[in-house]
């Protein structure tokens, strides 16, 4: 079974600085996708960035980028120029393609990011 591990329950970063959130996963599949989701205190989850496993190039979305190491099964999120609005829970997620053809998502336990003014 696939698992997703986020070993940092909480991280802090000074406004305008850079922070990296860690995520590791375990799978025997070769075809999968990885995601980072943000969940602000209002609870509505939003997608931050996604990575296709077959692509070697790391995904980038404005201030957000990932370091995808497929062999190490590592998928970290880097937030540059941190802003107060970045404060939230961040979840790493793996999208499994099951043998039945459905698309089960597996989430980590989350990292709470605090941004200090």
């Amino acid at each position: 079974a696939q698992t997703v591990t986020q070993s940092q329950p909480e991280m802090s970063v000074q406004e305008a600085e850079t922070v990296t959130l860690s995520c590791t996963y375990d799978t025997s599949e070769s075809d999968y996708y990885l995601f980072w989701y943000k969940q602000p205190p209002s609870r509505q989850m939003i997608l931050v960035i996604r990575q296709e496993a077959y692509k070697q190039q790391n995904a980038t979305e404005n201030r957000f980028s990932v370091n995808f190491q497929k062999a190490a099964k590592s998928f970290s999120l880097k937030i540059s120029d941190s802003q107060l609005g970045d404060a939230a829970m961040y979840f790493c997620a793996y999208r499994s393609r099951t043998t039945s053809g459905t698309y089960k998502y597996i989430f980590g336990t989350g990292t709470r990011l605090k941004v200090l003014a």
Binding site: Y33, T102, Y105, F107, G110
Partner: protein, 114 residues
């Protein structure tokens, strides 16, 4: 509506009561997911619909949990004979297609079982 909506936002039930949680996905979205999120944890997959077909219900914790999406749009998650361990936030998400399209999440329903 512009996004995924869920109702009620909050539900308090006495142990043993049945509850029904509603999800209105974004119009036209084929895929619909239900998740259970316990306090301080990440969402855990419950079930997946592709249109009206429930293709994966492997995450439903017991036979007290039942989900349906009869017309391929609105979905209802029903929990029978609620137990205290059912207390959690129940999240619904929908996506346009069946590939890795972005999931759009609803605000969730916080269920408290006394």
């Amino acid at each position: 509506g512009a996004g995924v909506s869920q109702s009620p936002r909050y539900k308090v039930a006495k142990r043993g009561q049945d509850v029904a949680l509603r999800c209105d996905p974004i119009s036209g979205h084929v895929s619909l997911f239900w998740y259970q999120q316990a306090l301080g944890q990440g969402p855990e997959f419950l079930t997946y619909f592709q249109n009206e077909a429930q293709l994966d219900k492997s995450g439903l914790p017991s036979d007290r949990f039942f989900a349906e999406r009869p017309e391929g749009s609105v979905s209802t998650l029903k929990i029978q004979r609620t137990q205290q361990e059912d207390s959690a936030v129940y999240l619904c998400a929908s996506s346009w297609g069946t590939s890795y399209n972005e999931q759009f999440f609803g605000p969730g329903t916080r269920l408290t079982v006394l």
